[in-house]
Assembly symmetry: C2
Homo-oligomer: 348 residues x 2
Amino acid sequence: MSSTSNKEVRFSKIPTTYPFPGEHLTVSETNIDLDAPLKEGEFLLKLLVLSVDPYMRARMRDPSIKSYFPPFSVGKPMNGGTVSVVVKSNNDKFKEGDIVTGFSNFQEYTLGTKETAPAFEVRKEPKENGIPLTNFVGILGMPGLTAYAGLLRYGKPKEGETLYISAASGAVGQIVGQLGKVLGLYVVGSAGSDDKVEYLKEIGFDDAFNYKTAGDLTTKLAEVCPKGIDIYFENVGGKMLEAVINNCNAFGRIVACGMISQYNLEKPEGIHNIMQVVTKRLRIEGFIVSDSADMEQDFRRDMIKWISEGKIKYRETVVDGIEATPQAMIDMLQGKNFGKQVIKVADL
Amino acid sequence: MSSTSNKEVRFSKIPTTYPFPGEHLTVSETNIDLDAPLKEGEFLLKLLVLSVDPYMRARMRDPSIKSYFPPFSVGKPMNGGTVSVVVKSNNDKFKEGDIVTGFSNFQEYTLGTKETAPAFEVRKEPKENGIPLTNFVGILGMPGLTAYAGLLRYGKPKEGETLYISAASGAVGQIVGQLGKVLGLYVVGSAGSDDKVEYLKEIGFDDAFNYKTAGDLTTKLAEVCPKGIDIYFENVGGKMLEAVINNCNAFGRIVACGMISQYNLEKPEGIHNIMQVVTKRLRIEGFIVSDSADMEQDFRRDMIKWISEGKIKYRETVVDGIEATPQAMIDMLQGKNFGKQVIKVADL
């Protein structure tokens, strides 16, 4: 019996504000025997790519607080979106060398069983279309479907309308904006650095601004959205949401995907102009991507087409090694990443 | 030529908090010659009933502030929902003795013209069904349609769900609650006095409470809505809205009809838990009754049926004389009325 090191990312302590690497999120080493025989239905996966996303902050909570997604368990491995390769298999669904996407533990090797098999899907596209593996936790994964379902199902866009996106260079925002252009909208985005603003203009946003240097946000939005805002793709919350409400047109739709500016505050900011929801007949609607699983096939078909036609580009920040995960998570929560934050754990 | 006194209610000054009778709202006397011959298309109306409603507070604003409803003009008569009788007519649409509902100036006599005729509608129901005239600015008027459209079109109720209504004994709230019972919902309401709470239980609410003596609203709502809130018919805003969000079930709908607790504040209260819109997939949607004019015929048919079957009752506070209007308005804004606040200007 040979023993191989199997590193994993653990949730170690519940944070009150930002989580810190080494305190709340740690990397630990266990061991695995890669030569052990597989029982009926078992399969062994080697992790290639893992995804850190803003929603994961909400899972780092006291388990007594109910929410849509189960909390992480202290002392256990974190889990989330992954891309892996099948090392060996005693399960008909998988064969050696298959690329699988899934929702699984953040550990270098995972032993799958009959029971956990449904959480993994064999994907042909990496070999057929040459699409990078990291895309499968990004533009072709959960963030991509979030953008697609959020804008189409909840935003209900009409040609010529103005779409404004906060955190617009992020994993979801950059897709929403380019999708908006495909649909004939006037698209405006904000981000937290001049580099990111430049990137938004490069990928076709009609206008973009750096919210950190913009001054009064209500005034700035009036300037960059001269016809008012019809759809707001909400990723940040707080003062930005207030400024958007001030600039919404009648019947404006606020599609609430996340409110990252509020996740690490002990007391969230107040929204003082919610009364405009009545006077302007606004709709503020929260959504979660898993409610739109029925759109998955349309999403894949459309997105692969738009990517191959060059209509939608996707920027990622890829860091190497599972050890980099805790720092990548905090960087993402603080907006230090540029585009989708991904960890490449191993080469194929 | 004989001259008759024609009293009117004027908007005299823009209030910053509550409007006051004699300062912001005044009663003035002009004169009218009732014997003057009518030109082609003219008709003379005598005012019988006028309506004061919460939305009118929003019209008492600086005209530079845009909103869905035009502001009142300082120095001019106020206007709103009315019931009148035709005194004489030189217009084919109206004949002497007709009862008409309309949107018109708050003055004892109004000279209608070809141009203003479309603002008035002859109503047969008072004579045919014996329905009181005051009902035509209440349960069978704008507040009734507001309740009907708000609950059916925006609340999207499903049998067995929990509906919570604030300002539940008011012009709109009491109808929403009884409508909820017709539709098989669990209906809970709040109001500002024990008398009003008692009334809500009398007309069929499953539970009701006095928000002024309820203590912590989040706790109270958890107690009276043990299965959580699926639909909130929002009339008040502020801390009540926060408490409701805390108690909303996943996919809860907040139908925002008004936020009366905020109308007379210089700085509105902040809503600090709006992030739950994402985690619970809530929808907060504002609406205005005039957008649902297409439901008017269904509304009249259903409501007259339910009233005649005794399924929906309606409580009004009727005060006599056009001079009582300014005080009735402020009483209504302060919640001193009980049910729909109406002014009976003259007998038929």
